[in-house]
């Protein structure tokens, strides 16, 4: 049997950044003994062993740590079979829309013996989102383009959010109307023509992964959009470069992301 952590609760290895954040949010931080290679939040995870990710889970080191629970991605079927064979419980993370975030929070919470804390955290998460939704309800909905990737400094290879997924949900909740909502996919490679035709009133240009914090860089990214002056968002100065992993990780920090997006939409 895997060694129990303090209080008889199981230890956890989480290869999924969103779930790692949930574990810390439900107070299970001390039980986390290993994380994935892409985990960077909360700061405590920096000192934990990195055990691979979607394509390269480090099975040997995971086995040596003998966690009570292993969090993996739902597509890691082989790893799941291996782990269950040696008696490690598995939480297979799957995410689609925004509703999945509190749902997953409750699930992982009860799996690691933190059901009550998880219920509290998930309810707080839902409450905060409700508040944002309520505040946005009174405002006119702005037609919004949600971009989560393009070439640095140029309007090429533009990836936008379609009408499925947590980003679309967050923007809708925060008072925006996704211009590509009718495309039922999470990601859409859109042409400059499609953007000109969609005529968004707000552009949210999301940046993550690297350090994009400097104002000069944000200004340069904003300036790239000046190539399309007929787009209302460009004409009225409503191009917002928002940087940070919180916008793309479907975890508890989506509340902050939603607040930032709501503020941008209000601006």
């Amino acid at each position: 049997m895997p060694p129990p952590a303090a209080g008889g609760r199981p230890t956890v290895v989480s290869l999924v950044p969103a779930v790692t954040e949930m574990l810390f949010a439900v107070g299970a931080g001390p039980q986390v003994v290993g994380v994935g290679s892409f985990d960077s939040w909360p700061p405590e995870v920096r000192h934990l062993p990195k055990l691979g990710a979607l394509l390269d889970p480090d099975v040997e080191r995971i086995l040596r740590l003998r966690p009570g629970v292993l969090v993996l991605h739902v597509s890691q079927q082989e790893l799941r079979t291996q782990m269950e064979r040696v008696g490690i419980r598995v939480f297979a993370h799957a995410t689609g829309g925004l509703d999945d975030v509190p749902r997953n929070m409750r699930k992982i919470g009860s799996l690691v013996g933190r059901a009550a804390e998880a219920e509290e955290a998930a309810a707080a998460f839902e409450r905060s989102l409700d508040e944002i939704r309520a505040r946005a309800a009174g405002r006119a909905r702005r037609r919004t383009l949600i971009v989560f990737g393009h070439e640095p400094g140029a309007l090429r290879a533009i990836d936008a959010s379609g009408g499925i997924g947590f980003l679309h949900d967050v923007v809708t909740l925060a008072g925006g109307e996704n211009v590509f909502a009718s495309v039922k996919r999470e990601s859409v490679r859109v042409s400059t023509e499609a953007i000109l035709a969609a005529a968004p009133e707000v552009i949210l240009d999301l940046r993550y992964g690297q350090e994009w914090e400097s104002e000069a860089e944000a200004a340069r990214e904003r300036a790239a959009w000046n190539a399309l002056p007929a787009v209302p968002a460009v004409r009225t100065g409503r191009v917002h470069v928002l940087s940070g992993d919180r916008f793309v990780i479907p975890g508890p920090r989506l509340v902050e992301a939603a607040r930032d997006i709501a503020a941008a939409l209000e601006d």
Partner: protein, 333 residues
Amino acid sequence: MPMRRRMAFTVLTFGGLAAAACLIAPLIGSTPLSLRRVFDGSVPFAENPDAQIFFVARLPRTLAAALVGASLAAAGVVFQALLRNPLATPFTLGVSAGAALGAMLAIIFPVGLAFAGVSSVPIASFAGALGAVAIVYALATVRRQGLSTTVLLLAGITLNAFFSSVILFIQYLADFTQTFRTVRWLMGDLDVGSYTPILAALPFMLVAFAAFSVLPRALNLLTLGADAAAARGVDVLRTQRLSFFSASLATGAAVSLGGPVGFIGIIVPHLVRLLVGSDHRIVLPAATLFGAAFLIACDTASRMVMAPMELPVGILTALIGGPFFLWLLLRRS
């Protein structure tokens, strides 16, 4: 028909086709466009979506398609003659793999470097292409016995495989979104979004085409074999060098502008040979013009069929090119 008239006839026919493609493509697309509003001078450009769809979205990509298609098709003709191999493509000698490696690095490690409005991705891919050209050339001339086309071919194929595995390794280390974006880059994309990337690639293409213009006669003789060509007064080494560098330059510039759009460099030359015979004085200009028209047509289709999503143009050219190539193979055997 005398040569001069045949050339004039070919250039006029294929030139007409390319010009028609250039004129028609910007008029059609996923969104309805009113030409009257496009050229309505009373509305400022900044407030005229129709004019911007025409001048910012459609016209640059039509021009980019024309240049990329022309460069790849012409480079295909030159490589097939240089290597005396009908299966050679502009990508055979590792130029595109080098370009791809450069682009991958720029996508996965975005330094945010942009030069005169051109982002780091095309710059890095062009640098990668030049790097590959230098390596292949150094290998092919290392024994100082002229330019060995066999070594050129083997070095190119090996470099392709080597760069591809480096690319896979980098993709393996990258996160999911970045990997997706690099894979998408490999499918080709002509939505350049402004004229700057075109202007950046154009000088290199012009240099390459200037070289192409003096090559056809020598290429005709080179296809008979190096010795036969030398006996007829061709400076073989000079021709090989000029062919190799100009075709590589055209390929590198085209790939950095539009990504490695597949099959153009092989379908177009063969198709054109079927129509006009194998004299390079005719084939080279015809393939150049037909390549432009063909890629414009493919790109127009690719931006319309799944709108507002893009169907990557490289997928479309491969879907057309694959079966065509098989047909060509069967027909030959």
